[in-house]
């Protein structure tokens, strides 16, 4: 049991450190360090442009998508080297957020199911951030129940014609490509009639409408499909085998470990260390200390759980569903932390502006953004089901629609 770099790892770290120090957009470092959930914009620049520029620079020097094969724009690095890179990249790593879906889910799905030509054509530009990809799975009628989706794809000659609606598509408004899960056979049970494609997001018939979220921002979109044509050559996996393809995508979501989920704890600890209450520093208050300790061990527990996962990965073990705990723990933690930090501010905790809010309104922004964290990418409840069923081996819920043809499943509760 050790945290020491091997000679090779130390050399990798030194090389990464030197390159980052010479090339990173240092003018944004302070702002990036201070950014937190719900507060991720840069004051004087478009963060998307900054992120794309940094990604391209990394790709040109061979530092993008470290674990991908070189021929697809990666570096063929080991899991440990990815962790070392993340440690050294520090706050600049926050600029990778734009590419998480593309690099973490779309890329690996393409790698597993696209043709060799397609991989060589699309993956390097995905790695370099020149193309941004989105993932079109969720629908109004299929959120947690992804396999309940209704967007139809019908074969016409060598093409598929897609009609329907997706929702909660992160970054669709600035994406160039997407992977799309559709229903190709509604007469068979729901998991058995799905097919996966990738498509150009500029295709005729696609309409993208940003969703105004509860916190006022718009990170997600509704995407409407009207007679959108996709060549059969862009099908990923067999017809009606889309569910299995999507499992690959979701499994790869779990491989994007080590990135570290935001817990809000470092922000809270710093805030309490400096906040003067009526009778002294907040961190000297018994009640505050107890809460801080409670969250401290959850934050450190997540950190070391992720290190254990990386160690397992580097031994060649596949990351399992046990990594579902990260978002489950962090989601409600950041929400509770935001509310607690505001409570410490008393009546002024209600103020949310960058100018007049305590700590620049950071915790207020966190409070308003955090409910989304507990829903996106699998709700807390779905995460608990995954742990219960796939880690602990408990039986799945009784599924009344499992063996019913999809078009016979009721669509309204009452």
């Amino acid at each position: 049991m050790n945290f020491d770099d091997t000679g090779q790892e130390a050399a990798f770290r030194a090389e990464a450190k030197a390159w980052i120090s010479a090339n990173a957009p240092k003018q944004y470092e302070e702002e990036l360090k201070k950014s937190s959930l719900g507060r991720t914009q840069l004051a004087g620049a478009d963060i998307l442009e900054v992120a794309k520029a940094w990604q391209k620079k990394k790709a040109d020097a061979g530092w993008a998508c470290l674990h991908w094969p070189r021929e697809y724009g990666g570096r063929g690095a080991s899991p440990i080297e990815r962790v070392i890179w993340q440690q050294e990249e520090g706050a600049f790593g926050k600029l990778s957020y734009t590419f998480i879906i593309g690099h973490g889910m779309c890329g690996p799905t393409m790698m597993a199911f696209a043709s060799e030509d397609q991989k060589r054509r699309y993956l390097p530009k995905l790695a370099s951030g020149e193309n941004i990809w989105c993932q079109l799975f969720s629908e109004p009628a299929g959120g947690s129940d992804v396999a309940g989706l209704r967007t139809r794809a019908e074969k016409r000659g060598d093409d598929w014609i897609v009609n329907g609606q997706k929702i909660w598509t992160s970054g669709a408004h600035y994406s160039d490509y997407g992977i799309l899960l559709t229903r190709t056979d509604p007469t068979v049970p729901k998991h058995k009639g799905l097919t996966m494609f990738f498509l150009d997001m500029k295709s005729p018939g696609i309409e993208i409408k940003p969703i105004k979220q509860a916190n006022g921002a718009s990170d997600f979109n509704e995407v409407y499909f009207t007679d959108v044509k996709i060549p059969d050559a862009q099908r990923l996996g067999a017809v009606n085998d889309g569910w299995n393809v999507s499992l690959t995508t979701l499994m790869n979501e779990r491989m994007s470990i080590g990135a570290g989920v935001a817990t809000g704890f470092p922000e809270l600890f710093e805030f309490c260390s400096n906040l003067m209450l009526e009778d002294g520093l907040a961190i000297d208050d018994r009640n505050v200390r107890s809460k801080l300790a409670h969250w401290a061990v959850r934050a450190s527990g997540l950190k070391y759980t992720s290190m254990r996962a990386v160690s397992a990965l580097s031994r060649g073990e596949r990351p399992g569903p046990e990594n579902s705990i990260g978002k489950l723990v962090a989601g409600s933690m950041i929400q509770d932390i935001a509310a607690f930090a505001m409570d410490l501010q008393g009546a002024a905790g209600v103020l949310s502006g960058i100018e007049d809010g305590e700590a620049g309104g950071k915790f207020q922004a966190m409070l308003l953004r955090s409910p989304g964290t507990r829903v996106e990418g699998g709700t807390d409840e779905i995460m608990r089901n995954i742990i219960a069923e796939r880690v602990l081996g408990l039986p799945g819920d009784i599924r009344v629609d499992k063996d019913v043809p999809f078009n016979k499943i009721p669509t309204r509760g009452r």
């Binding site: 300790a293 997540l302 759980t305 160690s311 608990r384 880690v391």
Partner: protein
């Protein structure tokens, strides 16, 4: 980086688990719980023969000299099996204190006796209500004799020797506290078994009346030694707690798979599944914090105080959570004497207080994090 136990250490864990499954079934725990015997003598002897008691004691003092990572592995299995033996008091407290502060002669005398299972040791620290603090120590040491009362003393009624924390001055400084080794059969020592929530491990009141005692470590360093011993014991006990958490979770899971209600296994109900998933989350976070503690302990890292507090808090929470909800999953049967759920519930809640309360360790963690941040 390799943040895991080695293959050899995992093999040791398998051996220990197999040994304990055979020699320490729930009936063995119950024999002590029911007061039929003060501790499981055969198991204790067996643990010594397997080399488990002396796993972190150097070979030159009669141990196997494997190290503290190996001791963490054994501790987890001891906790998992609820072993009704004075392992934590003897190994994590007494042996660690002697390893840290004992003279060469003291190490030569006591460590081989500990490793061979011939001597049970303990730390006599607490004097009634309260958490570890130099101010709470009233028992006096003057002219080589001790006077005062310690309680609760873990395994105090079966111990052969005790490390006793005593007051030698009243300056109000930590240096007022010194440590002594006392032979529990010496004149002036009286131990009385007390009722406690987990009778599978005894707690005693020990009275010292003009009792002769031998100093352990420098006279003014008693409190510093205790602090170090508590940090080391916190990591080791946390491994016991993690072992207990895992077992309680498994019991709940197994029952949820077997028990049918409303025509289906109760483990198919989300209310039950989510409760078990949350237990898994607690146990996993605790295990990860414990690994950090194990690393810090085995490397004698400057991060040990912080790592120990994190492991202690996380493991205390996890064991209490898993033991409590294991009963809930079992429903009415979980509240019977016959089912083993209460054994884990008792152990979880007794262990939670063994080295001072949760709030004491929370306080310690925040102090230590601040110190690191300031540095």
């Amino acid at each position: 980086m390799n943040f895991d136990f080695s293959d050899e250490q995992k093999q040791l864990r398998d051996e220990a688990r197999k040994f304990l499954a055979e020699k320490c079934p729930p009936s063995a725990v119950r024999a002590v719980l029911d007061g039929k015997t003060p501790y499981d003598r055969d198991l204790w002897k067996g643990l010594a023969e397997m080399g488990f008691i002396g796993v972190a004691i150097p070979e030159s003092y009669g141990g196997t000299g494997a190290g503290h990572l190996e001791l963490c592995v054994i501790a987890e299995e001891i906790g998992r099996a609820l072993a009704p033996v004075p392992f934590s008091s003897t190994v994590y407290l007494a042996a660690e204190a002697i390893l840290l502060a004992g003279s060469e002669a003291q190490k030569r005398k006591w460590l081989p006796l500990i490793a061979s299972g011939e001597a049970i040791g303990t730390l006599a620290l607490f004097e009634g209500r309260g958490n570890p603090s130099p101010q709470a120590i009233k028992l006096t040491a003057a002219n080589g004799v001790l006077n005062g009362v310690k309680k609760p003393v873990p395994d105090g009624a079966i111990a052969d020797f005790a490390i006793v924390a005593a007051r030698t001055g009243s300056s109000g400084r930590d240096s007022d506290i010194a440590l002594f080794i006392v032979d529990m059969k010496a004149e002036g020592v009286e131990a009385k078994l007390l009722n406690n929530v987990d009778p599978s491990r005894g707690q005693a009141e020990v009275t010292f009346k003009n009792c002769k005692a031998e100093p352990l470590g420098a006279a003014n360093e008693g409190w510093s030694i205790i602090s170090q011993v508590l940090d080391r014991a916190a990591v080791l006990l946390a491994f016991e707690q993690v072992g207990g958490s895992d077992r309680a979770l498994e019991m709940g899971r197994d029952y949820a798979l077997d028990r049918i209600a409303f025509g289906r296994p109760i483990g198919s109900f989300q209310a039950i599944k989510h409760m078990l998933a949350d237990m898994y989350v607690s146990a996993t976070l605790a295990r990860s914090n414990c690994y950090y503690g194990a690393w810090a302990l085995s490397t004698n890292s400057a991060e040990l105080p912080e790592a120990a507090a994190a492991a202690r808090i996380s493991a205390t929470q996890a064991f209490q959570h898993c033991a409590k909800n294991n009963i809930q999953v079992h429903g009415g049967m979980g509240f019977t004497w016959e089912f083993d759920c209460h054994l884990y519930y008792r152990r979880a809640n007794a262990t939670a207080l063994a080295l001072g309360s949760l709030s004491y360790w929370e306080d310690a963690l925040i102090d230590r994090m601040r110190k690191r941040n300031a540095a």
